[in-house]
């Protein structure tokens, strides 16, 4: 696989680190801000996924791998999305059925 990976210059790892740090600070600010709950949940999920994508793309070098490997690695995301979508109706229709 090493030989299959695209030749590329070393990414700016400190730049990625700084981006992750800034996104984390924004996350903490959003979590404390008096914003509507739906907005907060959506924003925090989007920020977390953006951070995860940065780690996978640059630290795990996925951005520079062969297209086939990227497809193999991303396929579980589709399966997990199906799992979550499948669970949402059940969780919502049974709201407040579980003790804390």
């Amino acid at each position: 696989m090493s030989s299959d990976a695209k030749e590329h210059a070393e990414p700016n790892y400190w730049g990625v680190w700084l981006a992750l740090l800034v996104l984390t600070i924004i996350e903490l600010a959003v979590a404390k801000a008096p914003v509507p709950k739906a907005f907060m949940v959506f924003s925090l999920c989007a920020l977390a996924l953006a951070k995860a994508a940065l780690v996978a793309a640059y630290f795990m070098h996925l951005k520079f791998e062969k297209y086939a490997l990227i497809l193999i690695v991303l396929s579980p995301l589709l399966l997990s999305a199906i799992l979550y979508i499948g669970l949402v109706p059940d969780a919502i229709t049974h709201l407040h059925w579980i003790a804390p």
Binding site: L21, E27, A31, L44, C45, A52, A56, L79, H94
Partner: protein, 201 residues
Amino acid sequence: MAHAAAMSHPQEAYENPLTPGWGKLMMWIFLCSDAMSFVGLLAAYGAVRLGSSDWPIPSTRLDVPLTALNTFILICSSVTMVKALSAIRRGDRKGLVLWLLGTIAGGSAFLGIQAFEWTHQIVVEGLSIKTSLFGATFFILTGFHGCHVLSGVIYLSCIAIRGARGGYTAEQNSPVEIAGLYWHFVDLIWILVFTFVYLIS
């Protein structure tokens, strides 16, 4: 052209399963299956939390600033890991060992802070895996991830010891890259756990 090249060098068409390329692919496949374990746990967490009538606000029960610091430490340890790989790819063995030691220190600090938080939750707050679904999901998710961090620290220690003995060179360093994939995955998962368990209220 590629087909013609493969025909003229048949050994290149069938890669040896023991070559570094296969090791990296196997780690990716393991990480995909491991990711599905976390997806299952997070899905269960979401379903249980949505179904609960009065789920506690995490920031009132958990130490968010301390855990944010822990998140920062883990992100820093990912940078030291990629720097370790860069060092050995330049043939810098000393740099490899030093950056790996930094990564191991980051992982150990993460585990220490998590152990402190668990102790506080169990001893002071009286939270346990039995007291509530909040406690059960908290300890299962952070505990499962913590086991991964502990495994990573042991894994990287083995790599560092071999690196210190001169086991890797600028040409032969794929075990370092493969260990790095595991470590970054642990970081990636924590980013999600931190958001879902600690931040969303």
